[in-house]
């Protein structure tokens, strides 16, 4: 019980410290946590888990009316490519490019590599 109250207070405290969350430009969801876990505890976030978690985030982002974070679609596109789902991979990569034209060089390179690997 005491621990619960402490947790609640500290949660509110962290919210206060980190400033107002609604002012943020993007919907972040689990993106950065997934990135971290993929290095620290990779077994917890295999390809399928990452895809399903990120797809959930995508829906939540749409509900919230916010754009997903820069890099989000590209990351999801990479995971689809790893899964062998080339159609979805391309779709996601093109989304990233449409949303953030700054990603063009990187995305074009990725699309080319996806194509090459597909031909093999």
């Amino acid at each position: 019980m005491i621990v619960k109250v402490f947790l609640l207070i500290s949660f509110v405290g962290i919210l206060l410290l980190s400033g107002c969350n609604d002012k943020r430009l993007y919907y972040w969801g689990k993106y950065e946590n997934i990135v971290r876990q993929s290095y620290v505890t990779p077994s917890e976030v295999d390809i399928d888990t990452q895809i399903s978690e990120l797809e959930i985030d995508l829906r939540k982002a749409k509900d919230s009316g916010k754009k997903v974070a820069p890099g989000f679609y590209a990351h999801l596109g990479m995971m689809y490519a790893k899964q062998g789902n080339i159609v979805s991979s391309k779709e996601m990569l093109l989304q990233e490019k449409a949303l953030f034209p700054e990603s063009s060089v990187l995305i074009d390179g990725m699309l080319e590599r996806v194509k090459k690997n597909q031909g093999r």
Partner: protein, 222 residues
Amino acid sequence: MNKILKLGFLITFLSIFATGCQEVKPYDYTALKKSKPRSIVVIPPKNNSIEVNASYIYLSTLTEPLAEKGYYVLPVAVVDQFLKENGLPTPAEMNNIPLKKIREYMGADAVLYIDIEEFGQKYLVFSSVATVIAKLKLVDTKTGELLWESTAFAQIGGNSGNSGNPIGILTYLISAAITQVVDNKMPEASRRANHFSINAEKIGLLDGPYKIPAKQDINKDL
């Protein structure tokens, strides 16, 4: 004891920085204003600490503050994989890529280099203290010019880290309680370090193109 005192001084010193006191000398933004980067690629940090996962834990906490500051941040894990596939297995090697290649293959206007100086959690009797110190350097990929640099610092847990907080003792108690539950504070410490560094008044990073000014002037420079 002496060490704790030293740490206390460091914290006070750095918290003055973070809060943007009058004493802070404003950063010289000439190069950054001239370069106006739109996109940033974060190279996996060089790790000088003993924590093996420091590099990638830290890497996973930089996209948010940079993107919320208004920059396009290249997907960090995608970039990391791309570099690994191209014969650069470790962050140390990735930090030596010529700028020309970064521009050619990733199209980023600027590159953020990070040196992790300290990264770890010390377990004390009633609590644990998580410390992060990292040096950030933003460099123009076209000219190689240094656009911005900063030392990111944060500490979570223990009573010293909460000095200046009106509910300091309470937070201390809370942090002690949380220690029992949450075992790893490093991601949060990293996030705070970045937040303080990037958003610091006068010495933080300037707003990027996606950050819409709070009031008007939206139409002009965008």
